[in-house]
Symmetry: C2
Subunit: 249 residues, 2 copies
Amino acid sequence: MHTRAGNARAVLSFRYTGLMNAPRTARERARAELTAEILAAARRQLREEGAALLSLRSVARELGMASSAVYRYFASRDELLTALIVQSYSEIGEAAENADRPGAAPQERWLAVWRAVREWSLAHRHEYALIFGTPVPGYAAPHITIEVAGRMPLTLARIVADTRRDGNLTPATGPICPTEAIAPGMLTLLAGEQFSPDEVARLIFCWNRLVGIIGYELHGHLANVTADDALFFDHTARTEGAYIGLPFS
Amino acid sequence: MHTRAGNARAVLSFRYTGLMNAPRTARERARAELTAEILAAARRQLREEGAALLSLRSVARELGMASSAVYRYFASRDELLTALIVQSYSEIGEAAENADRPGAAPQERWLAVWRAVREWSLAHRHEYALIFGTPVPGYAAPHITIEVAGRMPLTLARIVADTRRDGNLTPATGPICPTEAIAPGMLTLLAGEQFSPDEVARLIFCWNRLVGIIGYELHGHLANVTADDALFFDHTARTEGAYIGLPFS
DNA sequence: CATATTCGAGAGCACTGCTCTCTGTTGAGA
DNA sequence: TCTCAACAGAGAGCAGTGCTCTCGAATATG
């Protein structure tokens, strides 16, 4: 099988463990270094050309090695893409976390995080497309991704939890989400915090909106629809913040 | 150039006009028929395998013709994809319009349209991915698509307009969208109706939510997050309906 | 009927992901 | 220290892709 669909399984057999553990022998050190170089070259190509135009062969060419040699480090193109997905998830999560100022007013924290996620996305549109766009057919996201994927939405949840603890959360208005609609495990998505199903639903909506409205902007769905994207985005952030009960206007 | 990026321009040179005009000569008739057959075969492959695995060559094989012959009908793979995009936009718009019952209560109309769009999307996930997923790099949506893309959101707008005309629209709560954020042209998106910038913003949000939450469900972002997707979707529809002022609960 | 246009087929180019084999290198155990 | 297995790189090759070009054959138009 030459198609990508046939390689969904290969993704799960992560090989580039050299990155995690401290390399000991010279060979392991070289392996870790080359793995990082491949990843960096792939990242550069992803960033500049997009995932569709990223090929193992071009990465190999850029590094001056045979394409077959790259397969010593990444078992397939999908595995390379998965590594880039993990990296991107991690970066967008970090951008969100870094923007958060736990001591500040909830509205400021909320807006700062939303803006940071948008900034990152505008600056990394191909990475954004990779993690939030259409998944490659036959591609099943490995478990490695799901943990790191949570960092960004968890940052939003933390702001809400803190606000509630301080007694500043406005009571919910509008339809309340039925309990059966939400997975029970989600009620404890933040350690030490208990959320109601409706609160979880509202968090999902906020997270979905943040991702969705940026996707609309990035994919041109807002062309000729909005006149000032940054302004509209801030309004979006405020609207969702007010919806979940933060003290906005 | 062998890459898709190099062919963005080719998309604009639509060739398969045989479909629109009544064929006169035998040759034109044959051309129209073959064009339709190619499109049908491509649609079948899109539906079953997804856009990434759809190739002009496999379409040609299925029809028993040389791959080069297909290029007499579609100048490029992108052009074929564009035709499929138009078809899909049209279908999802039609699904929305057909589900709407202009005489019924706004809540029922709203829910029916939302459900119809979800049903269509679940039944046509690859088509959904094609129109709302990551755009192909270098691919600029031709003008032909933007008109047909509006059918679905316009159906939502129509329900809101009708409700307002009947005096049943609840006044807006929460942050009001600043006028400068919205493109002036959008205020008259429905002939004979005038929307305020804030109303347009709310419509954008509803449309974005409808597309976004289905995308989340389709792409597995709601796995282990929601427990009952249909129930959660109905709640989503109600929440957005209430937000825009429809008389929900 | 001659001519211009259209159409289908086949070969070919430059790519792709991936596999296999062959050689050289490196590291760990006897 | 020597041996041998594991590892790493290169190259060829396979099957697939989009797309172009050319060359006959069919078809429509003057």
